[in-house]
Symmetry: C2
Subunit: 337 residues, 2 copies
């Protein structure tokens, strides 16, 4: 395929960084010449651009887990396109390929950066959704973090989205009870009737939290969290002991600038493992640990210090003082002379 | 040992539930007769009562991980005491025992609920601190959640406390760089000079955050979090990628009623594993997962849906719409006719 001189490559650049809601004015559409290719490269005419929530992070001024897009730069994105010119053996004209070429119509890139697709038995676009990054995200989070068992209650928000719909279906196949959260009755009907979820709660419903209670009468064992914000805050108190949260996305957080939970953002961005723990859950380890500590105290390797209050009557004030940090080391009350 | 009739048992009850700061007025001291013992029980004269931050949770109206203390009830607590009367073979008068007898001078309880202590080579009180619940807490959180390696930067707040001081020393023994957070220059000097921490930052210092940056120039790999609140919020942005937080306590949260981070409280109380994850960290699994998804799509087990915007010009609006939840399933932009 050859292109005439007047064909241009439309590209979308980031115009300015949004704070809060993104608007179209944050982007700029420009055109450019069709790129030329070098040895081992291909020219691709894009057919599909995938839009995904992660892009919101890329255009934020805040640090995220990946390199951001600067104003004036091409928006990042994954595309499916057709090879229209090739100087590489591995790809031929007519091949359909998956590549991260960004928000543009044409792209030149090394052939090895493009994945040749086979659409024999699935539509090509499945490679951008259910079998692509979103589907893999769903699988990874559900299987390695949530780890649902048959009978568990699994909740997923953005339940009809590319990720959420895979999460819910996978969880159902494991034998979990699956409850979706989605915006509006149509989505909820789809989740239940088409995807086979056990229930779906409309977060726009004025009775959202009451409906939630009905939907998860035994609490939540696994939460696949895509949304953050008010929905997450409604779900969190309903999490069961030893429940698991796969924190995958918090797209709503971007739109509450001052109120946003930056703690959670940081946990996600840095893949922090945040796990509450209670030492009494680990009783079987106490005896061994105590022996180890004992040896270290005896050898002097472990030093310690105590604050001692005298007499039971001093206990309340000592306790209050401890909460204010007035103690120095282990706070004790001595009850005998 | 026999007790005269006029010896009474002083006991501390919870008088009322605090909101925010606890004051001594939330407690009530009463006296009661010395309890009598039944078969298999012992009478203990307590020598030591341990005061620990977890008690703040027990007197809160909010649900926590353990049964709370009701107003009018005896305050819970661990004690070390002397057996002064025994109707059980396993313990003899004169034995020193560890037991959860609460905030009181005397207690009768089944002998099997008391642990006989050996103070041959350590002081008895070590069983309430460095070798007791706080020390075991430190070990468990550090070893099973933080898992520091040599060269890691480990931060612990309440650094001179019963838990923090053990955390820092254990981490040093592994070869980590250890930075404590403590209130006031005296504590900080102790952490560095006595406990061997590499550095310690005074959170009361007006230049706290600037000092933090100096102390952790390579960020934080492991945080053992005992405090919560403003200190935690100052530490969180300094956490490195793939860093670990052992969330052990959030005592300061109790004193900011409206502002408190209930999300974090819930994570702790329910031992929720909260772990941000990014699918691109798991590239080695993509191929296998994709095959699995592929099979499910082919078999019809996995359904999916797409929202399609047409033309590159529609991408910005489609993206905005997606962030607002206007899409239905996987959002795509079709670039070709």
């Amino acid at each position: 395929m050859s292109l005439t001189q007047d064909v241009r490559n439309q590209r979308v650049l980031l115009a300015s960084r949004p704070e809060g809601w993104v608007t179209p004015e944050h982007f700029e559409i420009v055109d450019a010449p069709i790129p030329t290719i070098n040895d081992q490269e291909v020219l691709i005419k894009n057919h599909w651009l995938s839009l995904d929530p992660y892009m919101r992070s890329r255009i934020s001024a805040e640090k995220s887990y990946a390199q951001g897009v600067e104003p004036g730069q091409l928006m990042v994105g994954t595309t499916i396109g057709e090879v229209i010119e090739s100087r590489a053996d591995r790809l031929a004209v007519g091949d359909m390929v998956l590549a991260a070429t960004g928000w543009q119509e044409y792209a030149a890139l090394p052939a090895k950066q493009a994945l040749k697709l086979d659409s024999k038995d699935v539509p090509l676009t499945a490679y951008l959704g259910v079998m692509g990054m979103p589907g893999i995200t769903a699988w990874t989070g559900l299987m390695t973090i949530c780890e649902p068992k048959a009978g568990d209650t699994v909740v997923v928000d953005a339940a009809c989205g590319a990720v959420g719909s895979v999460v819910g279906q996978l969880a159902k196949s494991i034998g979990a009870t699956v409850v979706g959260i989605a915006g509006g009755p149509l989505k909820c009907q789809y989740a239940v009737n088409e995807l086979g979820f056990d229930d779906c709660v409309d977060h726009k419903d004025p009775d959202f939290t009451a409906r939630l209670d009905q939907s998860v009468p035994r609490g939540i064992d696994c939460l696949f969290e895509n949304v953050g914000g008010a929905i997450f805050e409604a779900l969190l108190p309903r999490m069961n002991v030893f429940s698991r949260i796969a924190l995958c996305g918090m797209v709503s957080e971007f739109n509450r600038p001052a109120h946003g939970n930056h703690a959670l953002r940081a946990i996600l961005t840095n893949r922090i493992k945040l796990q509450g723990f209670i030492v009494s859950d680990h009783m079987h380890t106490w005896s061994d640990i105590r022996q180890q500590l004992h040896q270290r105290v005896v050898s002097g390797q472990l030093k310690f210090r105590e604050s001692i209050a005298y007499g039971l009557h001093s206990a309340p004030a000592a306790f209050v003082g401890m909460l204010k940090g007035e103690n120095f080391g282990k706070q004790l009350v001595k009850l005998t002379d």
